[in-house]
């Protein structure tokens, strides 16, 4: 019958239309579907919703997955009281600057008073107008010193100065990293500890069995290249 296809299609749109309101009703007695932590959890998982879902940004924000990458930042020790950041983890080895695909990282290596290179960056710049958020710098940094930030709220009225991030802007304490990606940060810490230990082992030439780690941590280490 001519027109049946359209009628069937209209039934689909009608269902989509009503489902959204039915969802609203379902949540009505549990604090509503919006501005509700519990409802947001369900709503993130789009498949568990029948109707249309909307994230009411900025009132409610979608939590970012751990691997989410935006602009990089530099990891420092937790700052001593009264200061913004602590000792840099970066040793200015330059791997991130070499691997960066659009070459948006500039590092000025520090020098000791005797003129020898110091494992610390004197200056560190990232031009975020060039950065492509690929995450290679964080992936290949052997010291866990550069990480991809989750802060995407960077809209600005001017780019002349604010879009070249200098060391002051880039440095963030390790506690911030632990806060935004708890699981990955813990795995990295375990990996670092293991690396420390095996380093000590090699020196003492001890035949004790290597400390064993949980499977998922081991996989992390594998990826980090520590197991080789």
């Amino acid at each position: 019958m001519y027109g049946l296809g359209i009628v069937k299609g209209m039934a689909v749109t009608l269902r989509h239309f009503t489902e959204t309101y039915l969802d609203d009703l379902r949540w009505a007695f549990r604090g509503g579907r919006y501005h509700n932590e519990e409802a947001l959890k369900v709503r993130q998982h789009l498949g568990k919703n029948r109707g249309a879902v909307t994230i009411n940004y900025p009132e409610e924000k979608l939590p970012m997955p751990e691997r989410f990458r935006f602009i990089p930042f530099l990891v420092t020790d937790d700052p001593p009281p009264g200061q913004n950041w602590g000792h840099d983890w970066c040793t200015s080895c330059g791997i991130c600057a070499k691997v960066c695909p659009p070459q948006c990282i500039w590092i000025k290596r520090g020098t000791k008073p005797n003129g020898r290179p110091k494992p610390e960056p004197e200056e560190f710049y990232i031009d975020i107008d060039i950065c492509m958020n690929c995450g290679f710098c964080a992936e290949f940094c052997p010291f866990d010193a550069i990480k991809m930030d989750h802060d995407y709220e960077l809209a600005d009225y001017d780019r002349t100065y604010s879009h070249i991030h200098d060391k002051a802007r880039l440095s963030k304490p390790i506690s911030y990293w632990r806060e935004i990606v708890p699981a990955k940060a813990a795995a990295e810490e375990a990996a670092r500890e293991l690396a420390e230990q095996s380093k000590g082992k090699r020196r003492s030439k001890d035949d004790e069995p290597e400390p064993q780690l949980a499977d998922d941590v081991q996989r992390q280490l594998f990826y980090k290249g520590v197991l080789y």
Binding site: T54, I55, Y57, Q103, L154, D156, Y157, D158
Partner: protein
């Protein structure tokens, strides 16, 4: 009526500028404008996909009164430059910008539109749309997520909030808005505002032809 009085050529005394009436009028005026910013349907590259996702039901720009994507610049208030601007495209973008009615806003979405992005080193890429048209808000990221774009749009709303009906340039007769000259495609992209610099670098300067060229492109 009030608007008429304010926009007439009669200079407004300074003490009147802090008038309660004007500020509350500003509030109403800006409230109306900030909640009905109509963007132009204008997708350039990857960021356009995220822009479309922002407009779709999950992030829903309709919550900000911005769902009315207009296909013509004549009806739009906001140009979201969403993606890499190339030399071949920039004349069209400048033309579209010139065709937009005032007040007009430009949001540069993503690294490419702001400063060339990862493709900046390429021979055919414009290193930032702000070299040609004034940009109001920059949204960094490659690409910015929909939430980052909304963050930029909120920043734009805040900018609109700060504008005053008294100082808004689009009502003032003494400062007519200037059209951006449309860049030309020669052996490379030619910004017509830079003709004398180009000439200087070529070695010789011929004064009389500057006006000729300007007339030609008017």
């Amino acid at each position: 009526m009030a608007t008429e009085a304010l926009t007439s050529d009669v200079p407004v005394p300074d003490e009147l500028r802090s008038n309660v009436f004007v500020t509350s009028l500003d509030k109403v005026y800006n409230w109306g404008r900030r909640n009905s910013v109509w963007p132009m349907v204008f997708g350039l590259a990857c960021c356009a996909i995220e822009m479309i996702c922002t407009a779709a039901s999950r992030y829903d720009l309709a919550r900000f009164g911005m769902e009315v994507f207009r296909a013509t610049p004549r009806q739009s208030d906001l140009m979201i430059v969403s993606g890499t601007v190339t030399k071949k495209m920039v004349p069209t973008i400048v033309r579209l910008y010139n065709q937009m009615p005032e007040p007009r806003y430009v949001l540069s979405m993503g690294a490419c539109a702001s400063g060339g992005g990862p493709f900046k080193e390429g021979y055919h890429v414009v290193d930032g749309i702000d070299k040609f048209v004034p940009v109001d808000v920059y949204v960094p990221g490659c690409p910015p997520t929909p939430q980052a774009l909304i963050n930029g749009l909120i920043a734009l709303q805040e900018k609109i909030d700060q504008q005053s009906i008294l100082t808004a340039p689009w009502y003032r007769k003494d400062t007519p808005s200037e059209l951006v000259p449309i860049p030309a495609l020669g052996p490379d992209l030619v910004d017509l505002r830079q003709l004398d610099i180009i000439r200087r670098h070529a070695g010789t300067v011929q004064e009389h032809t500057i006006t000729e060229l300007a007339q030609k492109t008017d």
